[in-house]
């Protein structure tokens, strides 16, 4: 315990002696300030803590538009972008050098000669750096809580439940950063490699969901072909230019002969679609297998967002755009869910059926293994 306290105090002093830490803190404080500068009353929006006020029919206290827009903002912009990417990246930047510095020759000697286990020293330092990296994120979460209270008049304590998820997500990346930092003892190398590895995690998950999405679409197509729905009686096909060309061709010579031919065509198409589907399924399975031991960043972020907005709420930009042009929120919801199918889907909306326990469990496992490797390296090597 005294070891952890010593490391907490020391890491705090170390971080606060760094310019970078204060910059990250200042950016976070600035965001909070901006968030709280916007308020709503019965007649409209007030900006800059009430310095300017503009009336608005839909964006005022008590409207559903306001509620949906505001929540979408937090879910899509603050969690989806700020906490997921920006805050995590800033956190990594401001703590990437903690371990390499800690392990530098002449510094670590003095610690190792103390009556402490090496593994304990390492873990205490890890926990301490993790806690302080969480300071800016916590600040933003508290700021969100406060500004929601000011804007919507409710205390959304659910927001705070995002914190453990943010920490879990961040710590799995930080563990990678620490592992690389322990081996290379270079802050720059550990930061760069962590970002690259993070990119690979994201790529693996994008491949997985894209392949899954493709598989679902192809299955629908196969069904249509089997039911004979693909014979173009109408123009409701909206996917893919080659298909559209084909459709028009078929429409041109629509007679008995071509009907026969199309039965033959159908069999060939069915075959190629099934082959395509099999490939998509295989790709998805391989990507899933690769992702099994990796942190489930995308899923964790979704877990967080679900706590703020119902899943079928429209995207912030749609909700905000429609509201500003005076449309009721129901329209935004319809448009939003349509748009979601096209855009959002491709990256993440095809929710891979995974339980929270699986998502959190595998992520924690990944982190434990990564840290285990780092500790193993740290305790075995000569300094």
């Amino acid at each position: 315990m005294s070891l952890l306290i010593a490391m907490l105090i020391d890491t705090w002093r170390e971080l606060t002696s760094r310019f970078l830490f204060w910059i990250v803190l200042a950016i976070s404080a600035f965001i909070v300030l901006l968030l709280t500068s916007v308020g709503f009353d019965e007649t409209g929006i007030s900006l800059w803590w009430g310095l300017s006020h503009s009336e608005h029919d839909l964006l005022r206290r008590g409207t559903r538009n306001l509620d949906v827009v505001y929540r979408a903002f937090f879910s899509d912009v603050l969690v989806g972008f700020w906490l997921t990417y920006a805050a995590t990246f800033l956190g990594l930047i401001s703590t990437a050098s903690v371990f390499p510095d800690f392990l530098s020759g002449g510094g670590v000697d003095m610690l190792l000669a103390k009556p402490r286990r090496r593994a304990s020293i390492f873990m205490a330092k890890f926990v301490a750096s993790l806690l302080f990296a969480a300071v800016p994120v916590t600040l933003v979460c508290l700021g969100v809580l406060l500004s929601m209270r000011m804007a919507l008049g409710v205390w959304e304590f659910e927001i705070l439940s995002a914190l453990p998820y943010v920490l879990l997500f961040y710590s799995s990346l930080f563990a990678v950063c620490v592992l690389v930092g322990t081996i290379t003892r270079s802050a720059l190398a550990s930061l760069l490699l962590t970002v690259v590895i993070w990119g690979l995690f994201l790529a693996a998950s994008a491949v997985e969901s894209t392949a899954g999405f493709a598989y679902d679409q192809i299955q629908e197509d196969i069904e249509r072909v089997q039911n004979g729905d693909d014979v173009p009686k109408n123009k409701r096909r909206r996917r893919g230019p080659p298909r559209a060309v084909q459709v028009e061709m078929e429409e041109d010579d629509f007679d008995q002969a071509s009907l026969e031919e199309s039965a033959f065509d159908r069999a060939a198409r069915l075959e190629s679609l099934e082959e395509f589907a099999a490939n998509a399924a295989l790709t998805e399975r391989i990507a899933s297998a690769i992702r099994w031991p990796l942190p489930k960043g995308v899923e964790i972020i979704d877990l967080m967002r679900e706590r703020i907005t119902p899943e079928d709420d429209p995207n912030f930009f749609i909700a905000f755009g429609m509201t500003m042009s005076g449309q009721p929120i129901e329209l935004a919801e319809t448009v939003g869910s349509l748009a979601d199918q096209v855009t959002d889907n491709i990256l993440s909306a095809r929710k891979v059926r995974r339980s929270n326990r699986y998502v959190i469990g595998t992520t924690v496992l990944f982190q434990a293994i990564t840290l285990g490797l780092a500790i193993g390296w740290f305790t075995r090597r000569d300094y």
Partner: protein, 292 residues
Amino acid sequence: MTAISTQALEKSYRGGIHALRGVDLHVERGEIFGLIGPNGAGKSTLVKVLLTIVRRTAGSASLLGQPVGHRPTLAKIGFLPEHHRMPRYLTGRQAVLYYARLLGMTKRERERRADEMIEIVGMAQAAHRKLGTYSKGMQQRIGLAQAFVNEPELVVLDEPTDGVDPVGRVEIREVLLRMRERGTAIFLNSHLLSELETVCDRVAIMLEGTIRRQGTPAELAGKTKWRLTYQGDPVGPHTSNDLSFEAEDEEAQRQLDLARQQGRVITHFAREAVSLEELFMAEVRDQKGDQP
């Protein structure tokens, strides 16, 4: 009671550097023991093995009667590594307190001992400045303060006077003598012979990973050095009336008798300490002779 004891201690680093090749060493409690050797001899490696910073490859070693790696024993030891780098963002006092905390000292003890040691090393004035603003000599003093903060039974100092100006060196030496009076055993490393000569009770000479000689400076000398001065012309084989020579006791007496038989008035006749430098250089010369 032994403070440090090693038997056939060996260390090979990865990459095949055989830094220690069977080191046998004995340091008693309450003495100041100096280890000299040129750069790369393995002095720092020996210290690191003793303090668990580096793992030994073979042999055995104990500190204060306990095998190396016994954690409670480490709490009774003070250490200042070579090229140490204490956190620059701490003040001198914070640094001493930080290491004291890692040693598991209670808050009251930490503060009392830290202030006392900072006073002893003469850093009371600058104790509240950041280490980053200190000169090398000041950092070294804070390093000494933290090494002694736990009233250790044994202190290990790796090149404690490295990079310190002559005034600072004398002061550091005084601190060491003062600490020995309290019964602390001090083990120090240096490649600077003159450093050790004046403070050490016993010394060992290390070359290429082995201890070549070990004992009091006088023991090491084997032959004692004498100085004989008399009035008048040199007698017999003497080249001068002010002689300095190495000889056994009887041989020295014979030289004295020679001068007296010739009626010379003896003005000075005494044993002189052999300088470590001479011993050391003799070893290095032997070494070179071994492998032409």
